[in-house]
């Protein structure tokens, strides 16, 4: 039976309607999906970089890359807070937001797994991220319409704002650590 998250990725509106009927999420349970996101990153980074997976490597990668779900959470908080008419409480909405992680998590598994096994340029891997990026926009739009009760127009701009925020941060970070914007946009 496919996971809830996979259902969500394939049929987001119907899946969110079903999830809204579930028990509200509170306390530490709200961390399980961000923890899954971090687990995927923490395991795939050492697999890709050094073709090893040990307790030390996974723990260090988890610590190093923990800012990724934090950034995602900050963007989520902004989007959720922009729609006070939502159908669920804040923590449940945050949990449902993170349930949409499958497109990016699957991309990490496939793209980084491919990179670990075969010689492939980093630029190609980054370019392939357009697939989960667009896919996630569709899921986020469904989240806004269904969970946050926004209008179709409101869903679209929130999804676009989410895309802009995440990729704006990503490219800004790359530009900073790579020595300048000319490294990101050579022309």
């Amino acid at each position: 039976m496919p996971s809830t998250e996979l259902h969500l990725a394939l049929a987001p509106t119907a899946a969110y309607e079903r999830l809204l009927a579930s028990e509200p999420v509170g306390g530490w349970r709200v961390l399980r999906r961000p923890a899954t996101v971090l687990l995927v990153i923490a395991v795939m980074v050492p697999i890709t970089a050094v073709q090893r997976v040990t307790i030390g490597l996974v723990a260090t990668a988890a610590l190093s890359w923990s800012f990724v779900p934090v950034i995602q959470a900050l963007v989520a908080i902004a989007v959720i807070a922009s729609a006070p008419q939502r159908r669920v409480g804040f923590l449940t909405a945050l949990d449902l937001w993170f349930a949409a992680h499958v497109p990016y998590s699957l991309w990490m598994l496939i793209a980084l797994g491919f990179m670990a096994a075969f010689p492939v340029s980093v630029e190609l891997i980054i370019a392939s991220a357009i697939v989960p990026a667009i896919w996630t926009m569709v899921v986020v739009s469904a989240f806004c319409k269904t969970v946050l009760q926004t209008t179709p127009g409101g869903s679209r701009w929130r999804a676009a704002a989410h895309f802009a925020a995440i990729w704006g941060f990503t490219f800004s970070y790359i530009a900073w650590v790579a020595g300048g914007w000319f490294q990101v946009v050579p022309w």
């Binding site: 039976m1 996971s3 697999i47 050094v50 090893r52 260090t60 990668a61 598994l109 650590v177």
Partner: protein, 302 residues
Amino acid sequence: MVSRLRDRPLWATVALAIAIAVGTLVDRVPTSAPQRAGEYVVLAGDFHVHAFPGDGSLAPWTLRQEAARAGLDVFAVTNHNMVFTARFAEWMASSSGGSSRASAVTPRESSGPIVIAGQEITNPEYHLIAVGLTRTVNADQPAAAAIRDVHAQGGVAIAAHPTPRFHGYDDDQTVALLDGTEAAHPVDRVSGQEEFTAFFERARRLKPSIAPIGSSDFHVSPAVAACRTLVFAREATAAGVIEAIRSGRTVAVDQFGHRHGEASLIQLLDTMPDVDRPVDTTIWRRASLVLAWTALLALLVL
């Protein structure tokens, strides 16, 4: 049985834990002492490695372990236009004992490879590896000025992946200021290696003592020490390594195993066993990778 089969996420979590445990148990760092060649000790180095925080994927202490696994005696952390991570890596290495600027303890006999702070001075017109820095070098200046700043700090300046698109090295006077050039750097096409070799030959005509350097340029891939430098140092310290590079006593080894440098040094290497990259063939390590990947996939989709 049916109810237990429903606990697929639990299965997957257990499988992932087993994969990580197996990977941990089979993890071994090879140990062997650097070899001597006459008055020199031959150290395997990688002088172009990126670390996290920065655009490297691994934290400094993890990187040091990987360098040891790759058979390196010394490596330089060279993030783009910053030395914070490199200085931190250098400090961590010296704090753990043995491998420091001052100590003469053989790296692989101590707690790990020598770590040297550096920077990839990144400018639209050139990339320059600086090894042996204490502070960031301004990248917003011509290559010649950046090289002088590196020298003022006691470091060495190495042209990074010097392809024709980097016009900062068009001037012969600038090239003559260099201490080394990456004669071996991972490429996905043969013509790339030919460009690096051609630049090295040009640099050698301008400065016969220029050091051929082999580097991995590790970020996420290729592997640390994919290309490497064999350094003929008088002593196994950071200062000894920097002196050897400045004097041109290096041989660059590319990803195909070809050696670039002085014929006399290459001949010396031919008489020495065990200078090539160790190969890890354990089936258990590969099994742990496959199991970890499969378990993650199951966690996501089941």
